[in-house]
């Protein structure tokens, strides 16, 4: 349980941040107009990922899947921001 929980807490945090960033930057309109909605949604999102991580079959798989998803999500977000496609 502890390894999977750790996966939900550490890479899960970055995955939650990536999802939040993608949603708030990809929504129509300026990202600044949904700052508070995003901050409010962050903790429930993270807690959801922590609990969902317990359904992985092993700790290794959980770390791997969540880690890759987090890196992919944050990279995509950075790419969109750097290219000026989102604002």
């Amino acid at each position: 349980m502890w390894a999977r929980l750790g996966a939900g807490i550490v890479p899960g945090f970055f995955l939650a941040a990536a999802l939040l960033g993608l949603v708030s930057w990809l929504l129509p309109g300026r990202w600044e107009s949904t700052i508070m909605v995003g901050l409010l949604a962050f903790f429930p999102l993270w807690i959801g990922i922590v609990c969902a991580a317990l359904r992985f079959s092993s700790g290794r798989r959980a770390w791997l899947c969540l880690g890759i998803a987090a890196v992919a999500g944050l990279s995509l977000l950075r790419l969109l921001q750097a290219s000026g496609w989102v604002g």
């Binding site: 941040a17 949904t34 700052i35 409010l40 807690i47 609990c51």
Partner: protein, 518 residues
């Protein structure tokens, strides 16, 4: 949803762990928080006499005097209107060292101690920091996150029987079944309330930390600059170094009400103002207030020299950021709607405290060795800690209430005194429970809680003459409710103490709750 037995077991383990880590802090947060719902009434109750509400002229004089005496206040100054928290207006600002200073019409020199009775703030501090300085708020933020995990895991564990057992409350020989049913029914029926508190509690404690973390990660380093506009109403104006006098305070007050009415908020009541760059041509004032039918506060920003409207964020016409932020505050503090909402929050808060207390009892019960008197070390420690911390904090808060009445009458310093009495009596209760058989400690501390809580209306009546029948006759509903509420809680503690006595006579001997358990 069908869950594998292994998943259910994992969630049960997780629920036990987070419950154990956060349960004690949550009990304190909910018991103290339920009382804090009535902080406004508590302020009246703990003040020596009921003051008449000051006028806007008094507020104007306070503003003029503070601005004349304290140059730092001219940069940024906050001020409550008469009747908002206190009957008289209060001005506050940061001095050159960054320390907040407070001034009232009686006390223009400024003081780091906020005016008014200190009892509501003490109970509030227990609620959001457990009385711990510096790290208390972050700790409670962490506790809120664990609480969220406990809600999800508890819900998942209970899911297979959720509908079947929803209204089941089975008294009888199997006491564990009864406690489990009570834990489940309160947990499920007040789940929306608990979700609100897990989310808003975490956000209120950790907002700044979260923003620091997300700023470089997802917002390209632009979050801090953008958050000012998301939280404040007044635009950030540069000073001009051209001096210009302020328009009268009463005109801001009237203008804010008129502007709110133009935006469809018919009964706007200004609560406090924030004034920046007083004396400059770009002086800005932001007036925040509430309306009885709106969720959360709204604000009007005015040019403080001409009274021209600069910006508004009012219920019904505010942007998403301000709507969310004011909803978070309103839902957490329960300061929307009327007194029925506050009583509902109070009862649900006490129900929440029961949820955490019963959770600890169920943890102990599920580890009970049924065939021997000797019980596990961890169960005994848990039983003693639950009794000492949970019943102890009930004693401590009631002791602070009694101290708030008696200390001023004895001529002692009330703010430091009631803090020492509160935290000291709490520590004594924990120490007492650590050295006794858990059931004996529970019985004794419950009787103590009943007695100290029954002393609350007695101390109030003796010191101020505000006996509850006089409050009733004079129409002071808030004072009456606190005194009667204390009596009701005292009766509740007494009946729990009697239940503990019954347990010692007729309960199972193979338990940590046996009369002689060590």
């Amino acid at each position: 949803m069908k869950l594998k037995p292994a998943t259910l077991r994992t969630f049960t383990t997780l629920h036990s762990w987070v419950g154990m880590l956060a349960g004690f802090a949550l009990f304190v947060a909910f018991y103290a928080g339920a009382i804090t719902v009535f902080h406004h009434s508590l302020q009246q109750w703990a003040s020596p006499q009921l003051a008449a509400t000051a006028s806007l002229d008094d507020a104007q004089q306070l503003l003029d005097q503070v601005l004349a005496r304290h140059p730092e206040a001219r940069e940024h100054l906050g001020m409550t209107f008469p009747g908002y928290e206190l009957a008289e207006p209060t001005a506050y600002w940061q001095d050159a060292q960054g320390v907040w200073q407070f001034a009232t019409p009686q006390q223009l020199a400024g003081s780091p101690t906020p005016p008014g009775a200190s009892l509501p703030e003490l109970v509030n501090e227990l609620h959001y920091t457990l009385g711990l300085p510096l790290v208390g708020t972050w700790l409670m933020g962490l506790v809120s996150l664990l609480y969220g995990v406990a809600l999800v895991s508890g819900f998942v564990i209970h899911l297979p029987r959720l509908f079947k057992d929803l209204f089941a409350l089975r008294p009888g020989r199997n006491l564990k079944r009864f406690w489990q049913d009570a834990h489940n029914v309160i947990g499920v029926l007040s789940l929306p309330f608990h979700i609100v508190f897990a989310v808003t509690g975490a956000l209120l404690c950790l907002l700044f930390v979260l923003m620091l973390a997300l700023n470089p990660l997802v917002h390209d380093g632009k979050l801090m600059a953008a958050s000012t506009a998301a939280m404040d109403t007044a635009p950030n104006m540069q000073k001009t170094d051209v001096s210009r006098p302020l328009s009268p305070l009463a005109s801001w007050h009237a203008r804010a009400i008129a502007v709110a009415a133009e935006h469809g908020v018919a009964d706007f009541v200004p609560g406090y103002l924030k004034l920046a760059h007083a004396g400059d041509a770009h002086a800005v004032v932001e007036i925040t207030g509430t309306s009885p039918r709106g969720l959360g506060a709204g604000a009007v920003a005015l040019d403080a020299t001409s009274g021209a409207v600069l910006a508004t964020q009012l219920p019904g016409s505010r942007d998403a950021n301000h709507a969310v932020l004011s909803a978070v505050y309103a839902l957490h503090f329960g300061d929307y709607g009327n007194v029925v909402v506050r009583w509902l929050y109070f009862l649900l808060g006490l129900g929440g405290a029961f949820l955490f207390y019963s959770g600890n009892l169920l943890w102990i019960e599920s580890r009970r060795k049924r065939r021997q008197a000797e019980q596990g070390r961890s169960s005994i420690i848990m039983a003693r800690a639950t009794v000492g911390v949970c019943i102890g904090v009930c004693v401590a808060i009631s002791a602070a209430f009694v101290a708030a009445q008696l200390l001023p009458a004895l001529g002692w310093r009330v703010d430091a005194g009631e803090r020492w009495i509160c935290l000291g009596s709490w520590a004594l209760c924990v120490a007492w429970a650590a050295r006794r058989a858990p059931l004996r400690a529970a019985r004794e501390l419950l009787w103590l809680a009943a007695i100290v809580t029954a002393l609350v209306p007695l101390a109030h009546g003796l010191v101020t003459g505000g006996w509850f029948w006089r409050s009733a006759a004079a129409g002071h509903g808030a004072l009456l409710a606190i005194d009667l509420g204390a009596l009701a809680l005292a009766a509740g503690f007494a009946s729990l103490a009697r239940a503990a006595s019954r347990r010692s006579r007729s309960g199972d001997a193979n338990s940590v709750w046996a009369d002689q358990a060590r």
